[in-house]
């Protein structure tokens, strides 16, 4: 019996998508390091972490939605709305405080998310249609009501710049240049852990798995479906708000047409991480690895001197290959796909 359980654990590990993704990431990283030893340097890794935070935070939001069997494509519009409104408010009011920026951006995020949540839980609109609609509405409203002017580096309040260059610790290279670990990475890690805790240890989190697994069963088990759905979309909005502020702090430039249009690559990262698009299955670790893979691809192509046009091609190939491996795995275990479903 003991041995059985151990065997089972190993078997399950071998079935896990994450393991294969991890192997792919490690092999690819070794390959790139062979071409350009700089890739594996601590400095570059810190850099990778910093530049993946925006995508990572949004990906965690998308992960939660996919888990529940829904999809959200309005989160980029929400992120840019939060960012642009917060930045403009800080400029207009002259208050130079990053916490206020977060507060405004996240509030905008939660309010817009609540609109999604309301439409979906109250009127049972399919999530794709609802968020496709609100995505245009949110972005259109932002451009017509708040404005279309870009915020250049000179106009940008200092708090964003300070936040963007804040490192939690710094190291010195032999040639005297400093580098450090950005606060973005810490924010990302905290969000990942918080989300993991919610999903694993709260009834709300289990409810998200439940409705993603079988919504009818969830109704019969008396889960409060509208409440859970409402929470999910508010939470995505909240995370989008955070991502919005980090984004502008990173590039030190605000443009209300940025971010929107990236939603598919974020969703791709989550799916690459093993989350089933049909809901119910997926892990935070997988999601983080999916984001890591795509960020590494981006970064490495530049390091080895390939143009960024290659990026899309590579991302597509990696997704197809990694998802194929998992499906093949499933198929191998006795008639799994057809006969055990």
């Amino acid at each position: 019996m003991k041995k059985d359980i151990k065997n089972f654990k190993i078997q399950r590990l071998l079935k896990q998508h994450e393991l294969y993704l991890f192997v792919v990431i490690v092999m690819y990283s070794l390959f790139i390091t062979y071409l350009n030893p700089n890739f594996m340097s601590l400095e570059n890794l810190f850099d990778l972490g910093k530049s993946s935070a925006v995508m990572g935070i949004m990906a965690i939001g998308v992960f939660v939605v996919l888990l529940s069997g829904g999809i959200d494509i309005s989160f980029t519009a929400v992120a840019i709305s939060g960012q642009y409104i917060a930045a403009n408010f800080l400029i207009a009011s002259g208050i130079d405080n990053i916490m206020l920026a977060f507060l405004i951006s996240c509030s905008v995020g939660v309010v817009l998310g609540a609109i999604n949540g309301f439409l979906i839980s109250k009127f049972n609109i399919p999530t794709l249609i609802a968020t496709l609609g609100t995505s245009s509405v949110f972005h259109g409203a932002l451009l017509t009501i708040v404005g279309t002017k870009a915020i250049n580096s000179a106009q940008l309040p200092d708090c964003f710049k300070a936040f963007g260059s804040f490192d939690v610790f710094t190291l010195t290279k032999p040639n005297g240049v400093y580098y450090g670990l950005s606060i973005f990475v810490i924010v990302f890690i905290i969000i990942a852990i918080l989300t993991w805790l919610i999903l694993k240890y709260t009834m709300l989190g289990r409810g998200i798995y439940a409705i993603g697994g079988d919504i009818n069963s969830a109704i019969r088990s008396a889960f409060n479906i509208p409440k859970i759905q409402f929470f999910i979309y508010c939470y995505v909005g909240f995370l989008a708000g955070i991502a919005g502020v980090i984004h502008i702090s990173l590039i030190r430039y605000g443009n209300p047409t940025y971010i929107v249009g990236d939603e598919l690559s974020v969703i791709a990262a989550v799916v690459l991480g093993g989350t089933r698009i049909t809901g119910g299955t997926g892990t935070i670790i997988g999601t983080i690895m999916g984001v890591a893979m795509i960020t590494i691809l981006n970064n490495s192509l530049i390091l080895v001197g390939l143009s960024s046009y290659w990026h899309d091609l590579f991302v597509g190939l990696i997704i197809i290959i990694s998802v194929s491996i998992t499906s093949y795995q499933n198929k191998m275990s006795v008639g799994n796909i057809i006969f055990r479903r």
Partner: protein
């Protein structure tokens, strides 16, 4: 009937209609504390609908529900659960993406309004319940990966863990083995002693007669009557259910008429490690072969192997005397094999698609018009033919398979495979969950197919079904063939004895 004890549940004049069907028409039902009741009726008569209304997941158009003396105008799922009603649904309503442990324990956490989850507690609850049924299940396994029988056990365990006052079971025994059914019945009797009531739904009338004290019969959504079990027998009960007499006769293999020389199907020394070993048998045209053996004996695995879904390690399959190379179901279908799977809801239906589309999905090629498009007229004709032959109760061919009653869904799957007009038809549990009248109907159809020259294999636990409908039978135990004989050489008791005998 314990007239003196209090009523726990009373349903008064409940009606419910769906588009095109009156599922329930002024039905009443009452259950006393500590009483074991059965609800019977043909497929589509409204049993599951009534149960869903009691569970608060479907709202009736009219009528009243009184639980524990409290009258509910609008009953929500959570009210029903809080009042102590637990339901094992016909489709089980489990969470495929969660582990066995969580499936068993989670509902209880919801009911207790837990905010935070303790995984210790989840495992403890599940472990305790599983150990009670003396079954080794890996609690960490996801439910999507377990067999239908184990799913049924998980659903039963889930209902038992909660402090229920009434447990409703909608056909809980279609897939589980005798040992587990016995366990379930002992639990039900125990519950009764503790004052807990049970409402049991089953098409296996022997079970109904064995366990219940009182039987409520419905037909076409209307109440037929409420009877004391001691006044009933098999024939009376099936008469109340269907409104007609059902007779059974034995199948007569027309060997002389068909004069088969070569076997249609020959299986030689087929083995797969851990599944089955050295299986050899032949099926001739016009024969109906029964394969029986307790659950987990490897019979389903064998059927899957014949159909290209479970690759054997060694051995050969011959069809019409030619060595067959069956790698995928498609190869099997091309060679004239069809397979009616055991777990029909998950394996046999596109639940959201229409009935018509479900039936013709196996024969799409034959429906193509000159332009390689699907000819709708042909489609309807083919689908209509089969729904009529199998008496499928549905408002139209365009309604989704989801809205059918459990038994009618089963028929759609049978229709879909019959439409392929196979030479060899393997049916795994052809009549589980099908009412007595339709059962004999389906048996009749199978015999006709055999008389027209088809070779049929029936896999079943139901001894009566095997003895009545097959000319030859094979007993499988722990993956090995222990007996092959003509059905007219063996009596029911003898077969039971062979089945329960330990192999040496």
């Amino acid at each position: 009937m314990p007239e003196n004890s209090e009523k726990f549940l009373e349903v008064k004049n409940v009606s419910k209609s769906y588009v095109g069907v009156q599922a329930l028409d002024k039905v009443s039902l009452s259950i006393h504390k500590g009483e074991i009741d059965c609800l019977v009726g043909e497929n589509g008569s409204g049993k599951s609908t009534l149960i869903k209304i009691i569970a608060g997941v479907v709202q009736p158009d009219e009528g009243e529900i009184i639980i524990n003396g409290k009258s509910f105008k609008k009953l929500h799922a959570i009210d029903s659960i809080r009042e102590g009603i637990q339901v094992i649904y016909q489709d089980l309503s489990l969470f495929p993406n969660m582990t066995i442990a969580e499936n068993i324990s989670l509902n209880q956490m919801v009911e207790r309004k837990r905010k935070i989850i303790s995984w210790h507690e989840i495992n403890d609850i599940a472990e305790k319940e599983i150990s009670r049924i003396n079954k080794e299940l890996n609690l960490e396994e996801k439910v999507e990966n377990i067999s239908i029988a184990n799913k049924q056990l998980v659903a039963i365990c889930r209902a038992l863990t909660q402090d229920a006052k009434l447990i409703i079971m909608d056909e809980p025994t279609t897939a589980i083995a005798k040992k587990e059914i016995d366990f379930l019945f002992s639990v039900i009797t125990d519950l009764k002693k503790r004052g807990i009531s049970t409402l049991f739904v089953s098409h296996k009338l022997s079970e109904v007669l064995k366990i219940s004290e009182k039987v409520t019969v419905i037909r076409d959504g209307k109440l037929v009557g409420v009877y004391n079990t001691k006044d009933l027998n098999h024939d009376k009960l099936s008469f109340y259910m269907s409104g007609r007499k059902i007779t059974n006769s034995a199948f007569n293999y027309q060997k002389e008429k068909l004069e088969p020389k070569k076997p249609l199907l020959e299986v030689k020394d087929l083995s797969k490690k851990g599944n089955f070993q050295d299986i050899s048998f032949k099926v001739y045209s016009g024969e109906i072969i029964g394969i029986t053996g307790i659950l987990g004996s490897g019979r389903t695995e064998l059927a899957l192997a014949l159909f290209g879904l479970n690759k054997p390690d060694s051995g050969n399959i011959y069809i019409d005397g030619k060595l067959a190379n069956i790698k995928y179901p498609k190869d099997a279908i091309d060679l004239g094999l069809s397979y009616l799977p055991e777990d029909r809801l998950n394996q046999g239906l596109f639940i959201k698609k229409s009935i018509g589309n479900n039936i013709v999905v196996t024969v799409l090629k034959s429906l193509l018009s000159r332009f390689n498009l699907i000819n709708n007229n042909n489609k309807y004709k083919s689908a209509k033919e089969w729904t009529e032959e199998l008496n499928v109760l549905a408002p139209s061919l365009d309604t989704s398979a989801q809205s059918l009653s459990g038994g009618n869904q089963q028929r759609i799957v049978i229709a879909k495979w019959l439409a392929t007009n196979p030479k060899i038809f393997i049916l795994d549990g052809p009549t589980v969950g099908i009412d007595v009248a339709s059962k004999s109907n389906i048996h009749h159809i199978i015999r006709n197919l055999a008389n027209r020259g088809m070779g049929v294999i029936i896999i079943s636990d139901e001894i009566q079904e095997i003895l009545n409908n097959c000319n030859r039978l094979i007993v499988i135990k722990e993956g090995r063939m222990v007996k092959e004989m003509d059905t007219n050489e063996v009596s029911e008791d003898k077969l039971l004895e062979i089945l329960s005998r330990k192999i040496v």
